[in-house]
């Protein structure tokens, strides 16, 4: 495991920001860290990167216990915080900004690397523009470039696409995927689920400071909806056909319109063959036979709602 968090907790007085968080991330993964605002994502990332110390628990990076004093380890990761700090030397140009960090991280051939990175996110034309004139989206992109500038092994991205326009989102997504292809492990926190779904294979859902679920993204969805919902469209559906279908042993529920059926199959076994066979037997030729899959968004809402209900 390249990143391992063991029972991380952080409390501020009576308030518990993070409680016994366990995470395991393998080398080369893009790991999604999901949760609503205030769930504890940023606190967890700050602990993982040594910005704030945990109240209890420990962080292992590259298989070794990590402490913020460990300069060598800090050189091996890049961080994009949720917000670019407002007071950060606004008199710098984009080029000077990256040159400073290249100098700080001792990047070899900084000029070429900076030009290459600026080109990748379409910022090469604003290299000499002062960063105080940058939009939030441009600053966010610059912040991501800063994090990848020294080619780190791990990237911690806290809400990297918030505030970006669709083109910016695509550019950042491509950049993350490209960095991952080059072998970097990426931990990306976000509440924009469609994006996480597109790039992450594994992840965790955090809510109220606790990890509610960790594993494959597809597992989140299947856990939410073990039953399959099938939508069938045909030229004509006979009257009261829904009652007929509901009487079948493998059908949990059914609703029918004049040309449309929605059938919920029971259990975890795949009964699609049985259903289509029955429909053909009844003279109904489906023009559409579609399985409705729950989205990550459904899973996320369901998991976080469940947590809230449990707490209440």
């Amino acid at each position: 495991m390249i990143i391992k968090a063991e029972k991380l907790s952080k409390t501020y007085g009576d308030f518990t920001a993070v409680e016994e968080v366990n995470l395991s991330i393998s080398r080369g993964e893009i790991y999604g860290f999901l949760g609503p605002n205030g769930a504890g994502k940023t606190t967890t990332i700050q602990i993982l990167t040594g910005v704030i110390p945990p109240t209890s628990g420990r962080v292992m990076l590259f298989g070794k216990p990590f402490t913020p004093e460990n300069r060598e380890t800090k050189l091996r990761f890049g961080v994009v915080p949720e917000n670019h700090p407002s007071g950060f030397w606004p008199w710098l140009t984009a080029g000077e900004y990256l040159e400073f960090f290249a100098d700080l991280f001792s990047v070899p051939h900084p000029g070429a690397r900076i030009s290459e990175l600026l080109g990748r996110v379409g910022l090469e034309k604003v290299r000499d523009k002062k960063i105080r004139e940058f939009s939030r989206g441009m600053l966010q992109k610059l912040s991501i470039l800063r994090a990848v500038l020294h080619s780190p092994d791990i990237l911690f991205l806290d809400e990297p696409i918030s505030g970006l326009d669709p083109l910016g989102i695509k550019q950042v997504r491509d950049l993350i995927l490209e960095e991952n292809r080059e072998g970097r492990t990426v931990l990306v926190s976000s509440h924009i689920l469609s994006e996480v779904e597109k790039i992450c294979t594994r992840g965790a859902v955090i809510s109220q400071g606790r990890v509610r679920m960790e594993g494959e993204m597809s597992r989140f969805i299947s856990m939410l909806s073990p039953e399959k919902i099938i939508t069938v469209e045909a030229d004509e559906i006979p009257d009261r056909f829904d009652r007929q279908l509901a009487a079948l042993p493998f059908v949990a529920a059914c609703t029918a319109g004049k040309k449309r059926l929605q059938v919920t199959l029971s259990g975890e076994r795949d009964y699609r063959k049985e259903l289509s066979g029955y429909l053909y037997g009844q003279g109904i030729i489906p023009v559409v036979f579609r399985e409705e899959t729950a989205t990550l968004e459904d899973a996320f809402i369901s998991i976080t709602n469940e947590t809230l209900e449990r707490i209440q």
Partner: protein, 283 residues
């Protein structure tokens, strides 16, 4: 840290406030030197001859007594003017540095920069070196101005004036370390600035207590407290060094510098510890 220091130097170099302060300090220095020359009469130095020196003389008399005042003015025109112009530049640099450090801490700039090979202690060290550099530049400017004035008005800017400037710089550097420590510990810029000015005022009071007559229980108590606090005050060592120089005691001068360095080392150690502990980031 070199990259960070370069950036910190740029930060102050781009600040017009620094140049304005140095200009004001030099203008003030000009008036003080000119006023001093006007106070020199055939009978000797008469500070009541000009309203400016009349005010300064009465104030110093009130606080330190006539013996001290006479000694200050006997040292020539540059001692007092150097101290005033230096104090102005030093206060500007330390206030702006504390304010900026706390602002950067609260807005996440330090956290942002420290997500890399530097930590807040190295950040603080870069800020300290930057402050020392600009204090050196402003002191250099004041010395050059004084040398030019001396040449133009046929006055003597002697080794005593030069050594006094060095003593001022050394004390200023230790005060920067106090500022650095308070910036690390305080949660807001206002609290850091207030505590810094408080420490500065306290040490000034401790210095003046040495000249005041102790009377009654409170007077004795204040004297005793002052005697304890003076060991933590750069002004105390500065005063010892000045005395040692004017009374030609080189060993005492060296010891004063060594003690000041030891105090600076102690505060630097405290800064490092504060960086490791709760002063790491505003949480």
């Amino acid at each position: 840290m070199k990259a960070l220091l370069k950036m910190k130097i740029k930060e102050t170099a781009y600040n017009p406030g620094f140049y304005i302060t140095v200009t004001i300090a030099l203008v003030l220095s000009h008036f003080l030197i000119e006023g001093f020359v006007l106070c020199v009469e055939s009978s000797g130095f008469n500070y009541a001859a000009t309203p400016l020196y009349g005010f300064i003389g009465r104030t110093l008399n009130g606080i330190f007594g006539p013996a001290f005042t006479d000694r200050v003015f006997a040292a020539g025109p540059f001692l007092f003017s150097s101290a005033v112009s230096f104090a102005l530049c030093f206060l500007f640099l330390s206030i702006i540095s504390i304010f900026r450090f706390c602002f950067e801490k609260s807005t996440g700039v330090i956290e942002f920069v420290c997500c890399g090979p530097v930590d807040i202690r190295r950040y603080g060290t870069a800020v300290f070196f930057r402050d020392c550099l600009f204090l050196g530049i402003s002191s250099g400017g004041i010395i050059i101005y004084n040398l030019t004035s001396a040449a133009a008005a046929n006055l003597v800017f002697g080794p005593g004036d030069l050594v006094f400037s060095l003593i001022l710089m050394a004390a200023g550097i230790v005060f920067f370390l106090y500022g650095n420590l308070l910036s690390m510990l305080a949660s807001t810029a206002a609290s850091a600035l207030l505590s810094y000015l408080g420490v500065f005022a306290l040490f000034l009071m401790v210095l003046t207590a040495g000249y005041a007559d102790a009377a009654g229980y409170m007077g004795n108590l204040f004297q005793n407290v002052s005697r304890f606090l003076q060991w933590f005050s750069p002004l105390f060592y500065m005063q010892s060094a000045v005395k040692a120089f004017f009374f030609l005691r080189p060993l005492n001068l060296v010891l004063s510098f060594l003690a000041l360095s030891a105090l600076g080392g102690g505060i630097y150690g405290a800064v490092r510890m504060a960086g490791r502990g709760k002063g790491r980031f505003a949480e």
